[in-house]
Amino acid sequence: MSATALSPPALQAARLILARDLRLAFRRPGELLQPLVFFAIVTTLFPLAITPELSQLRKVAPGVVWVAALLSSLLALEFLYRDDAHDGTLEQYALSGQSLTLLLFAKTASHWLLTGAPLAVMAPLAGMALGAPVASVGGTIASVALGSVALSLLGAIGASLTLGARRSGVLLSILTLPLAIPVLIFGARATELAIAGEDLAAPLYLLGALAVLGITLAPLAAAAAVRISLE
């Protein structure tokens, strides 16, 4: 980022994009609910496929919650650029003279507020439906909230790379899922410790580290990928 990247006009542009994306999303609340409904359905599949026995479900609950969260955050990535790429808004961002990195970071932040944050609120409900104790709610929210920051940022790279590619839906999953494995491992571990009532600081710190690394590097890679797709 150049020295002017964080100048007042650039920050203002980023803030305006954040506000615009939130306003546009709330005009179609139905679309906002889709990833959450998907999350609930995937979670429901596991008791039906494994066993309704809560004592057994409790053992797989962290994994189920995290796989469902990973899949629905992947599904939600479709909303990140789709409309802006179609109507040329993304092109205007690239031509605006402001740092595209910062603008895409603002877009990703609004995307996380619209998909990651609600997911973090939903996750403990799914966990409790699978036999997790009430005491695990805080830990589950914290782990999914931190983890979904990293997932949104990784997903932004994948979505930027697949802009204008054929079969972009499947491709996006193939590109993003292997990169998301560390988030899955630490996230599921943190949720597991929360359900067991133990100290979950260590995996939470690691999730936080992944989120910080994502905030630092992912917008740069996403901006490079968007520029390539606009050439």
Partner: protein, 245 residues
């Protein structure tokens, strides 16, 4: 003046000719080293006191595992060079790496699985190193899938280059996060500082195989690079002089 050698590497006809001249210098030593290592490793080296004859698959398994990571790094470096200096030949080299690397990764998983059955009693175990190798295979497949999703070669080049660079930042993170689990894989016995835990009759063929595989990769890469350059430059006039029509 001193940089002319570097600038010439950007020219497809020059690289095509250079690759053709260099290939035998990689291919023949590779063939000799691999032939020696196969004989010395499979016939001459003594059987392991614990694992018997079965351990001999390590002579293919460990060098393949080394190559799977080495090729990925080479691919990412070539992709970064192509991205930064906009050198088309570097992108062609990165594209040529992917299939070779994926093959080495698959060979690692396959030989490991064959080895796992007699030693661990199972073809597959969710052991950290097995899992990170599998994820590396997925990264290669993702890279190839992204390339094939674009009709325009230049866009495919640059998008997949970004992915390769992102991937190479992530490979260590994936590796160490996967180590979070407990390992039942035996501790590394070759890539270790200090004295190797193997006797020289095993150690020397192993080193020969590592070197042989690395040279084999060089020969395969140069050959694929020539094919890739020919394909990309198929409308250029210099091709006529090379092909002779």
């Amino acid at each position: 003046m001193a940089w002319t050698w570097f600038h010439r590497l950007g020219s497809p006809p020059y690289v095509y000719g250079l690759a053709a001249r260099l290939t035998p210098w990689f291919a023949w030593p590779a063939a000799a080293l691999i032939a020696y290592a196969l004989y010395a490793g499979l016939v001459v080296a003594p059987a392991d006191y614990q694992q018997g004859e079965g351990y001999r698959i390590i002579f293919l398994h460990a060098p393949s595992a080394w190559m799977s990571v080495m090729v990925y790094t080479t691919m990412a470096v070539a992709a970064a060079v192509g991205l930064i200096w906009r050198i088309k030949v570097a992108h062609a080299a990165a594209a040529s790496c992917a299939a070779i690397g994926a093959t080495f990764t698959f060979a690692t998983l396959f030989t490991g699985s064959m080895w796992g059955k007699p030693m661990w009693g199972t073809y597959w175990a969710w052991d950290p190193r097995v899992t990170s190798e599998l994820l590396l295979l997925f990264l290669y497949l993702g890279y190839m899938a992204l390339r094939s999703a674009f009709d325009d070669v230049q866009r495919a080049d640059r998008a997949s280059a970004v992915l390769a660079v992102v991937g190479v930042v992530n490979v260590p993170i994936i590796h160490y996060s996967v180590i979070w689990w407990n390992s039942l894989h035996q501790a590394p016995s070759v890539m270790k500082l200090g004295k190797p835990t193997m006797p020289p009759e095993m150690y020397i063929p192993m080193l020969a195989m590592f070197l042989g595989f690395t040279l084999l990769f060089g020969a395969l890469l140069l050959t694929r690079l020539r094919a890739e350059v020919l394909n990309r430059e198929r409308t250029a006039t210099w091709i006529r002089d090379v092909v002779g029509t």
